[in-house]
Amino acid sequence: MAEVTNQELVQALTEKFGGQIIGVNEPYGLLTFETHKDSIINVLTFLKENSIANFNFLTDITAVHYPEKKHGIAVVYHLHSMVKRIRVRVKVFIDENHPTIPTATTLWNAANWMERETYDFFGVRFEGHPDLRRILNMDELGVHPMLKQYPLEDPNRVDKKDEYFGR
């Protein structure tokens, strides 16, 4: 079992996808790169099925909201190759006003609830998901509470202003 380095992975990815792989870096040794919404499923399929690393395991799907950015929602995938003992993080920045992205349930059944959770909290619509309902919050909630515009505390309370706590 030969180990695979991040450089070899990046090389294989750029050979295959060229300009679709952007923003490559390695915070704390974990290979991280961005790609576009149109190519995400191809990238994930390639990562899952290629012979260099064989990322057989979907560790996690989540999202991050950056309200000041143009494409304000980052959908973050963590993949893991148990064979080569290497992890990779893939990010896709999507438009906050039309947060849609193809589903990864076609590749891993594990993606089902992870995507439902991401939809529940960030409103990201995973196109082709078989059962995209809220999962932890009640169906009547009406908002996607992890978006940054929703405050943690009741905004009407005068004793719990965030600036008093420096948050």
Binding site: R89, N109, W113, I135, L152
Partner: protein, 404 residues
């Protein structure tokens, strides 16, 4: 097996199916979550899992708390093994801050984490036995969870939601009573565990109820994101302690037990064997501690490690650091980090994004119970109701970790 479909069925022209609400507060679920299942006689035709009954918005709260205030939130994820969650979170922050810990702290952590793993597995395995009708075994082994909690109490003052340790180490050194209690536990627990195994491992009723029930192949387990004892029982030797060693697990000699068929009996055996391995780890940890200076229980990082109270009252520098840490004004790099530990139920991951503010910009918990549990409804199709109940106990779904 592709069950990516909503699993209600309307194909019931003669109105023969019975709809049963299993939960939210049903004794067999061992937690607050609901399954609406349709039964044809004793067989499950379809089921829908509804979760979120104790959702407490930890990820949102975490965005408004400085790092050290997030530890009590992690207590309440898998509350059967809180120390693993606490230390997983501490190690995530230490990774972000590039803190190197003294070996003694790592070994102390391993001892506490393995004790909590035993506590976690005691709960799961005794409850499988309980649900198959063997109350005696439950009572025999369960008292040792109490002994483990007494050790935690000696180390940190709390029992269930421990808030054990600090960023950079422990809040205080282990006292003599703690070591005495650990040694006493190491002497008494193997006897009880052996007795527990002799009551169940070759027990005809137990084997009939568990062997071959709810078998899962390695491919299915990986496809559904299973980790921990569940994945290992299906034959995949993945353990975070070995694949990405943290807290000096690479210094220890232990084995990763794997099953073959992924059925309930294998899960039970894997968890039992892990308890034996945890005992080995604790013994080795105690042995290794003898080589280390006995007064070190935290790293020398005053900017990040909360000083002792008497220091704060008498020492200017300690007061400044105390103030800065409590107000969340520590200098943490603007970066993102993923760290995972082997929790009682599998890979417990922390994805932390820090933007240089006083609180995390984003913190996401990869919760093994949440991800393991999504196979429950699809795999229950065609199963007997009584088998599905044991299947659920053997998955060790902890509602706190399920809902976060």
């Amino acid at each position: 097996m592709n069950h990516n479909q909503p699993v209600y069925t309307d194909n019931d022209p003669q109105d023969e199916l019975v709809t049963l609400n299993l939960g939210p507060t049903h004794p067999a679920t061992h937690g607050v979550f609901q399954n609406v299942i349709q039964l044809d006689g004793e067989r499950i035709v379809s089921g829908v899992s509804t979760i979120g009954y104790i959702h407490r918005a930890f990820e949102k709260i975490a965005e408004h708390r400085p790092f050290y205030q997030i530890t009590p939130l992690t207590d309440r994820l898998n509350y059967c093994s809180s120390p693993i969650n606490n230390m997983g979170w501490h190690m995530t922050v230490e990774k972000l801050l590039n803190i190197q810990l003294p070996k003694r702290v790592d070994y102390l952590r391993v001892i506490i984490m393995e004790l909590s793993r035993i506590a976690d597995h005691i709960i799961c395995n005794t409850i499988i036995a309980q649900d198959t009708g063997a109350t005696t075994t439950f009572l025999y082994l369960f008292q040792f969870r109490e002994h483990i909690y007494e050790i935690f109490e000696e180390v940190c003052g709390a029992r269930l939601t421990t808030n054990i340790g600090r960023i950079g180490g422990f809040e205080r050194n282990f006292n003599e009573i703690a070591f005495t209690k650990i040694n006493k536990f190491l002497k008494e627990f193997p006897v009880a565990l052996r007795e527990f195994e002799s009551l169940l491992n070759r027990n005809r009723i137990f084997i009939d109820r568990t062997a071959g029930v709810a078998a899962v192949s390695a491919e299915q387990a990986l496809d559904y994101g299973w980790t921990g004892p569940l994945l290992r029982s299906a034959g995949v030797d993945y353990d975070v302690r070995v694949s990405d060693p943290y807290a000096s697990y690479q210094d220890f000699d232990f084995e990763v037990p794997v099953g073959t068929s992924g059925d309930i009996y294998d899960r039970y055996l894997v968890r039992n064997e892990e308890m034996w391995q945890s005992l080995r780890l604790i013994e080795q940890g105690l042995e290794k501690l003898k080589q280390e200076p006995s007064d070190i229980f935290h790293a020398d990082v005053p900017e990040f490690y909360l000083p002792a109270k008497e220091e704060v009252y008498n020492n200017m520098e300690a007061l400044i650091y105390h103030f800065k840490i409590v107000m969340g004004e520590i200098d943490a790099p603007k970066a993102e980090v993923y760290h995972s530990v082997e929790g009682g139920n599998g890979e417990l991951g922390f994805y932390l994004i820090n933007d240089g503010g006083r609180t995390p910009y984003r913190l996401h918990f990869r919760r093994p119970s949440f991800i393991n549990y999504q196979m429950f409804a699809p795999m229950s199709k065609g199963m007997l109701l009584s088998d599905a109940i044991i299947n659920m106990s053997s998955m060790n779904i902890i509602a706190g970790e399920l809902d976060a």
